[in-house]
């Protein structure tokens, strides 16, 4: 196996003349790239673009609003992954704008790190209703599917905002001007779903593509691969994370996903509906579907419902159209301490990652 330094040397030896943009679609990849300082280490002609790799960032604003209202107005305990607590919804400042604020106002909201905790909290709740608000991509939804298949208590229901990553990339590739020339595909999504899911990038769109792990050497190997594919006009899906990503992925996890969750057209915050990109409960799990068992608390004509916060460019960041530092709010009105947009809230948001890696100025 070659080291990060060796891969870097090989990349520098490539006859790159024209600029090339390489998109990643995983917050974990972006984090490794930023923390290892790969942008500074690579030739200037290579532009690394963070893409739609943050499930918290694109979680529908209406779903977060509904979760807040359920926690405030229904006799429930609401559990959700910790990242979701600080994501603001679009209501005026006098109103409760996040799950964190709802919790401070007395709502029973508990951050969890695993679906197992949701089950444990429901079992200990003495019959009180527990709602598990789920935002996440395939890697997170597979454990949720496992939780459902193993059996959950009657008092546990799910508000599912699960999303699939590849349809977002397909949407970008189908657009008139994709903001990238080559793709680094997400290693842990492929671990679960199989590398084959990304074959369409090569076959249908003729874009170079490689699946990467999360260490700098794996990421650089994948970058080297897509650069060579680009230069030599040869395209193939290169699995650069073969230690973990196996053909077919985790077959049982895929099977459980199919059994418990169905693929639906679904909105992405600030972006709109992406066909066949959402995961919702299968009808067999209707009795655990929080959407069916609680009233919808949406106000008529709530301003900016479904949008990113006014003035926030998170949607453009998620689509790779701009870099975090190109947002007018970055580092000014929007910092991790007082975030405006979800990309500055989540550990997987590009803005948060760039800030944490020391990029403090626009």
């Amino acid at each position: 196996m070659q080291t990060a330094k060796q891969w870097l040397d090989k990349i520098w030896q490539l006859p790159l003349s024209a600029p090339i943009r390489i998109m990643n679609v995983c917050g974990g990849h972006e984090r490794s790239i930023a923390m290892a300082g790969l942008r500074d280490a690579l030739p200037d002609s290579i532009d690394l673009i963070p893409g739609p790799g943050c499930p918290v960032c694109i979680c529908p604003e209406q779903d977060i609003y509904q979760a807040i209202q359920l926690a405030l107005h229904e006799d429930v305990t609401l559990v959700t992954f910790g990242d979701m607590l600080r994501v603001p919804v679009n209501v005026s400042r006098q109103n409760i704008r996040s799950l964190e604020q709802a919790k401070a106002a007395g709502a029973d909201i508990r951050p969890i790190a695993s679906p197992r905790e949701a089950v444990a909290i429901a079992r200990a709740a003495g019959g009180k209703k527990v709602v598990f608000f789920v935002a996440g991509f395939e890697t997170t939804c597979a454990p949720v599917a496992g939780m459902l298949a193993e059996g959950i208590p009657d008092n546990l229901s799910l508000l599912m905002s699960g999303r699939l990553t590849w349809p977002a990339v397909a949407m970008l590739l189908d657009s008139a001007q994709p903001a990238f020339d080559a793709l680094i595909a997400p290693g842990h999504v492929a671990t679960v779903m199989g590398p084959e899911q990304w074959q369409f990038v090569v076959d249908r769109h003729g874009f170079p593509a490689a699946i990467a792990g999360f260490t700098p050497d794996s990421l650089l190997q994948a970058m080297y691969s897509v650069l060579r594919q680009h230069l030599e006009h040869k395209r193939f899906l290169d699995n650069c994370y073969t230690q973990v990503v196996k053909s077919g992925g985790n077959a049982l996890a895929r099977h459980l996903l199919d059994d418990t969750l169905k693929v639906v057209d679904a909105p992405w915050r600030g972006i709109g509906v992406i066909p066949a990109s959402g995961l919702e409960l299968q009808p067999a799990y209707a009795e655990h579907n929080a959407r069916l068992h609680f009233p919808r608390h949406e106000e008529q004509a709530r301003r900016f419902a479904g949008a990113m916060p006014p003035g926030c460019d998170c949607a453009k960041v998620v689509l790779g159209n701009i870099k975090p530092v190109q947002c007018r709010l970055y580092g000014e009105a929007c910092t991790p301490r007082s975030p405006v947009g979800p990309c500055m809230v989540s550990d997987e948001g590009a803005c948060r990652i760039w800030w944490a890696s020391g990029i403090k100025e626009r």
Partner: protein
């Protein structure tokens, strides 16, 4: 949320494995690996409390090195 963490299995009871990483112990579900042969001593990749894949010791160590370098992963 997608950065899974490698841990080594210390003991197994049903679908639950006691896993360790650098002295920290945690329970994780083996439910998604039922079709695999998973045994004490194996390294697994854990995401939100569920093992999603068996990995090699070498792969586990390279990911631990990466996690050590991150300020607040």
């Amino acid at each position: 949320m997608c950065l899974a963490i490698p841990m080594q299995i210390a003991s197994i009871s049903g679908h639950t494995a006691r896993c360790a990483i650098k002295g920290v112990e945690r329970d994780a579900s083996l439910f998604l690996l039922q079709d695999e042969t998973v045994k004490v001593g194996d390294y697994v990749l854990i995401h939100v409390g569920y093992a999603i894949q068996i990995i090699s010791e070498q792969q586990a160590h390279s990911t631990w090195d990466l996690l050590d370098q991150m300020p607040d992963a």
